[in-house]
Structures are given as C-alpha cells and as structure tokens.
C-alpha cells in the first residue's frame, strides 16, 4: 500500500519535472506556425530556421567565447588564490577568503546592476567584454571554494619535495600542483562554463549589439509562442546533455591514486 503510493507519487513528480521539457521538444518538431496542440509533424523546418538565423548563430558563438574565456580567467584566479591561502599564513586570511566568496550571496541582478553603473561611470561601453567580466565575478567565488576545499596536506608535501629538489615556485605550481589538482580545476572550469553559458541577466544589462545566446533567445520571446524558440531550446538542451555526460564520464570517474 505504502509502496504503491510511493510509486504513484514518484511518477507524478517525474511527470511534473519532465512535462515542460517534453512539450518543448515535441513542439520544436511542429509543422505549423504555433507550438500548441494539435501536433502537426514531425518537421525540421524550425531547426532549419534557427540555423539560418544569423543573430542566433552569432549569439551561440559569442556565448561559447564568453563562457570559455571567463571560465578560464575565473579558474586561473581561483586556483592561484586557493593555493596562496592554503599554503601560506596570510594576515586576515579568513576575512580575505570571505571577501572572495562574498559575491555568492548576492543575486546576479544586483551584481549586474552595480557593474552597469560602475562601467557607465568609468566609460566602459556595453560589450561582450563587460559581460565576461561580470561572469568572472559570479564564477570566481565558486572556483575558489571548490579548489580551496580540495587543497590537502599531502599535496603540500609533494610540493615541498619538488622545491627541495630545486624547482622554482612557478615550476612547482605548473608541474606539480596543477596536475594534482586537475579534477578540481576541471570541475571549476566546467561549472563556470555551465553558469556562464546559461547566464542571462548580467549579459542582458551589460551587452548591446553583440550579445549572448540567452539574450537572443529572450529577444525571440517578444514574438510570443514560436516553434523556432522551441527548436533553439531543444538544441541547447541537447548540447547541455552531451556536456553533462562528458562531465560525468571524466570528472566523477574514480581515478587511480
């Protein structure tokens, strides 16, 4: 009895969770002009429309570039600072670490708003660079927290050994620490990519002519319900799932010690 109830409940929740994405994907194959019942299809015309839309493909390219570069910067800064705080006794260490993680507690909207006012003030025009800077602000705390949590003492010993054998500090970081920390670095980079790729409000506030994919999708929404939006959404979904599987297979796989 309890068991049957539990199965029904779990199925209902899975139904709730999957309902919108199922509808999204189904009606991306709609043959007619509106993504509402009845379903007339399958047709690939809206996928063709997406691939033929220069704004969407440009937005896709911009999103990839912004995500790659901002994640690389966030991971690099996060790695260096995590290493510095883990290996050396710095004054006011707890306070400074708190400062780096502080942006995690503030909503993207408010971070974007602050940057908009600040960039206005120093005369930096709205651009993909401005949005990229914002993406580093939101991802740096995350990268720092992930990498810092993985900095253990046994790694410090290996570093010390390398140093005793005459390696310079830069060599230690590049040839010893970075390879040992690879899973944490990869996880940071990947998570940053995901957040940057999906980020809307900061890009919306800080870009103008050239912009990222979520903002272009937002612009499509002004036209109301449109199977083209479904097709873009379904494509983003497909790409994300492939990335998630890659991540699952590489980062979480138990590696030999």
């Amino acid at each position: 009895m309890t068991r049957a109830l539990a199965i029904v409940y779990a199925l209902l929740l899975y139904g709730f969770i999957f309902l919108p994405v199922a509808v999204l994907v189904l009606f991306s194959f709609q043959g007619t002009l509106f993504p509402i019942p009845p379903f007339n299809g399958p047709s690939l015309r809206w996928y063709a429309a997406v691939l033929g839309d220069a704004r969407l493909t440009a937005g896709l390219g911009n999103s990839v570039v912004v995500a790659l570069l901002s994640s690389a910067v966030a991971t690099l800064l996060g790695f260096l600072s995590a290493w510095g705080f883990a290996r050396f006794h710095l004054p006011a260490s707890a306070f400074l670490r708190g400062l780096i993680t502080l942006p995690l507690t503030v909503s993207y909207l408010i971070i974007g708003m602050g940057l908009l006012i600040f960039f206005n003030w120093i005369g930096l025009p709205k651009s993909l660079v401005a949005a990229g800077i914002g993406h580093v602000v939101i991802n740096l705390p995350l990268c720092f927290a992930i990498i810092y949590s993985q900095m253990g003492d046994h790694q410090a010993n290996i570093e010390r050994a390398a140093r005793d054998l005459g390696a310079s500090e830069a060599k230690v970081l590049l040839l010893i620490t970075a390879p040992i920390m690879w899973p944490a670095l990869f996880a940071s980079f990947f998570l940053s990519m995901t957040f940057s790729w999906d980020e809307f409000v900061i890009s919306f506030l800080l870009t103008r002519f050239e912009t990222t994919l979520p903002v272009e999708i937002w612009n499509l929404l002004r036209a109301g319900l449109n199977p083209k939006t479904n097709a873009v959404g379904a494509m983003v979904f497909g790409v994300s799932i492939i990335l998630a599987i890659v991540f699952e297979l590489t980062a979480f796989r138990k590696r030999p010690q």
Binding site: Y9, V23, F27, P37, P103, T105, S107, I133, P214, I217
Partner: protein
C-alpha cells in the same frame, strides 16, 4: 627560501583574485550606493529614491508580492520535495539511486530562460494543459494561468523541487540507518519514526535548502517576467523597469539595496539554523 620571498609569492598568488573582487564587485557595489543617494545629477545627496519606495504603494507592493510569492514557493517546494527525496533515498534500490537522481535533474540542463518559456507553452490559453482539460470535458473553456501569479509559482516550484530534492536527499543519506532501526526496535511506527527521529535530524538541512530557495527566488527576474507577466510586479521586475523604461538608475540602485537588505535580514533571522558547512 627566505620568509620575505615566501610572503611575496603568497601575496602575488592571492592578489589577482582579491583585486578582481574589489574592483568589479566591491567598488560597483559602493557606486550603486552612491548612485542611490543622488537621484538628480549635479545635485546634493538625498534620500528621495528611498522615500519613493516607502511612499509609493506600487513600489512597496512589489516587495510584498515578492515576499508572498517566495514564501509560497519555498513552502510548496519543501513539501513536495521531502517525500520525493525520501522515496529516492530509502525506497529506490541503492544501485538505481544515482540514475534516479540524474533523471530528476535532466530537464534542468536546458537554459533557464528556455525552461520558463517551456512552462508558458504548457500553461498558455491554448497550451497543453488547457486543451487537454477542455478536450476531456473537465473545462468548458480555457482558464487563464499564464500571466498570473500561479504561473510564476509553478515555474519556481518546478526549479526548486529539483534543488531541494537534491539537498534533502543528501541529508537523508548522511543519517546513519541505525536511527531508523533503533526507533523501529523501540516500537515506533513508520510515521512516528519520521516525526520524532528523522524530521528533527534533517531539519537543519531543510533550513539551508529553504533559505537557498528564498534567496534565489526573491532575486530572480526571468521566471516572474516570462510567466507572471506585468499584471503583478515583483521586486526584480520593478528594478529592471526602472532602468529599462525610465533610465532611473538612482531608483534602481535604491530598490536593489532594499532587496539586499531584506535578504540579509532573512539571513540574520534564521542564522542560528543555518550552519552552512565549509569544507
């Protein structure tokens, strides 16, 4: 290695991240504060932008709406997620649990904007829900769900049920099975075990998840804008409207800071339950 060069290296490694945070987070934040106090360019400081919030009912109603929606969302999400997490943790066979969780997270791999749009497809006047209910004869004509508070709540609950299921699941799995065994051995029914043993033990985790839900939902612009529309404004919508339509940065800054203050107050109010663990 001399201690002077050690300390030079130490500072060199942490300075870029600190500088970045200082220049692109702290300074903009201060700029926003200064902006909120200068509603008119070239004039002295004034609290006019804040006064506007407290005197204009349509402004503070946005905050009330935000608080109401966020609380409703948080409560519904916890109530829906807890049994789901329970089923996943204790009733699904161990080796299927990871798959079951991944399946629950799968739909959220699409972009956040697209996910809200998908709910619009489902809830629209001629959307899947309405046409199904009309075809089944349960409704004589479509009801309006899109562009109402209900739609905003559904969109939010969808996202946060997933998030809370993950947090509560992690919590339930951390509990030693001995607690449940001991309670059963001492004659507690399943329900009594839940109320007197498991629930109190998982309460801190639930509080963290609920707080996270509150913070993320109250600051979100996308879901209320796409699903709720402009009939009833929430705080983030009001803030965006100040910049978009009116170019009123002072007011937008003041409203942002008020929203942040509310979140901070909420944090302080439940700080003693929120022991967010650091690794």
């Amino acid at each position: 290695m001399s201690s002077a060069s050690t300390s030079r290296i130490a500072w060199a490694s942490v300075t870029p991240a600190l500088l970045w945070t200082l220049v692109f987070f702290v300074v903009p934040f201060v700029a926003m504060g200064v902006m909120s106090l200068h509603p008119k360019a070239g004039e002295g400081a004034s609290l006019a932008a804040y006064a506007q919030f407290f005197t204009n009912p349509s402004y503070w109603h946005a905050l009330i709406n935000s608080l109401e929606v966020t609380l409703i969302v948080t409560v519904i999400s916890v109530l829906l997620a807890y049994p789901f997490a329970w089923i996943l943790a204790f009733m699904v066979p161990e080796r299927w649990q990871r798959l079951a969780l991944m399946l629950a997270v799968l739909p959220f791999w699409t972009s956040y904007v697209v996910r809200s749009y998908s709910w619009l497809l489902v809830l629209a006047e001629k959307g899947v829900v309405n046409s199904t209910l009309v075809n089944l004869g349960l409704l004589s004509e479509p009801i309006q769900i899109a562009n109402t508070r209900t739609a905003t709540v559904i969109g939010f609950v969808h996202f946060f049920v997933m998030l809370l299921t993950l947090t509560i699941y992690a919590n339930l799995k951390q509990l030693s099975p001995n607690y449940r065994k001991a309670a059963t051995d001492l004659g507690a029914s399943g329900f009594q075990t839940f109320i007197h043993v498991i629930l109190p033990l998982t309460l801190p985790g639930i509080m963290v998840g609920a707080f996270l839900t509150f913070v993320l939902a109250i600051g979100d612009y996308i879901t209320p804008q796409i699903l709720g529309g402009n009939n009833e404004l929430l705080m983030p919508q009001l803030i965006m409207m100040q910049i978009g339509r009116r170019g009123d940065f002072a007011s937008a800054s003041a409203l942002s800071l008020i929203l942040m203050a509310v979140v901070t107050l909420a944090y302080l109010a439940c700080a003693r339950w929120l022991k967010i663990e650091r690794a």
